[in-house]
């Protein structure tokens, strides 16, 4: 149990997806202009990551890993080069389901996501979650915890940036810095802050 908790903290803070690993930055920057949209994105990310990482784990272990077809008399078969296509297919399906659910039950959140919800399919953070899961050979429980932890870390970061940028709407910035430029500088400062969590990893 403590191992899983440690993994959760590690995924959420030490290896924070947008701030330390540069993953999922496009939506991170584009949707953090308002705090409520940022919060919605964070929740969606946590949901999608928490579902797709364990799902992709099951697909990888039962179908793609070297030797997975041993029961069918094909112990030599290694389909792991197909994992990119398989993972992205699972993610695309999950995102479309999410889009339909949002459209049906939360139309205002759906409207505020706009073009970026389909782009959640190509959210690097989500695919990277599955790729890291394979690279670090997690178990099923670990991959679920890792997915949720990364999602929570992303939600935290995007929520904070959204809150800062909402306040910043009243600031008098140089023209060229307004919008994207200041968002990058803020992200850099937050990234400096999160870099100090690396110290936490040593004491965990």
């Amino acid at each position: 149990m403590t191992d899983l908790w440690r993994l959760f903290l590690h995924a959420a803070f030490v290896d924070n997806m947008p701030l330390i690993l540069f993953l999922g930055l496009c939506t991170f920057l584009a949707l953090s202009k308002r705090a409520d949209a940022a919060f919605g994105l964070g929740v969606a990310m946590t949901g999608v990551l928490g579902i797709t990482v364990p799902l992709n784990y099951l697909i990888y272990v039962t179908l793609l890993a070297p030797g997975a077809w041993g029961w069918a008399g094909l112990p030599e078969l290694d389909l792991s080069y197909l994992s990119l296509i398989a993972f992205i297919g699972v993610i695309a399906a999950a995102v479309q389901v999410l889009e339909m659910i949002l459209d049906r039950f939360f139309p205002n959140i759906h409207a505020s996501f706009g073009v970026f919800l389909p782009l959640l399919t190509v959210q690097c953070a989500i695919l990277a979650g599955s790729l890291f899961m394979v690279e670090r050979s997690y178990t099923l429980a670990e991959s679920a915890v890792f997915g949720l932890g990364s999602g929570v870390g992303f939600a935290l970061a995007v929520g904070m940036l959204g809150a800062i940028r909402t306040r910043l709407a009243y600031a008098d910035l140089p023209d060229g810095l307004r919008g994207l430029g200041i968002a990058f500088l803020l992200t850099g400062l937050m990234s400096l802050g999160f870099a100090s969590f690396a110290q936490m990893a040593a004491t965990l």
Partner: protein
Amino acid sequence: MATKSEIWRVLTDPLVRQNPVTLQILGICSALAVTTTLATAVTMSISLTVVLTLAAGLISTIRRHIPETVRLIVQIVIVASLVIVIDQLLKAYFAEVSRALSVYVGLITTNCLVLGRTEAYARHHAPVPAMIDAFGNGLGYSLVLVLIGALRELFGKGELFGYEMLPLADAGGWFEPLSLMLLAPSAFFLLGFLVWAVRSWRPEQVEAPDYTPPGRAEAAE
């Protein structure tokens, strides 16, 4: 058929005026992650430009046959297949660079630049303009990557492409490497300043303010 000047416009617009990274907020993740050295930045730029151009051509060719509802999955599968080919090629011929890029080659699949361009342009245009647009965007992306990669490697290690440019203080030279340049935050700062510089040069890219203080609004008029 598009005229020559129109093709030229589609090709050169994404370089500065519509740059994918600094204006359209597309493909930023990899732009920051692979720019610690110039060699990885260049490899990534070439891989991405090739994938983007081919994907735009393919998707635009079959654009009338893709049903609207499943178009995302079809596009992604096409892009993923191209990325697998590139990944295997890199592993076979440039093993070292491929290791340095780690998962980020696979992540070209989910580079929002690729899907963003196919969604926004290739889906509605004939193959040739679509490929030109994709190539232009690939070049715009490469421009930013190479610039940031060069700055980070030059000031972080005193090298370019692994060759010494600034003699290091450790080896009897005068240059003290800024190791912060190799860490995550400096990539954000550099890109932030780059955006600032581009927008000061081209004021039409400046975003409209969300809110104007009352006193200031009158003063401006």
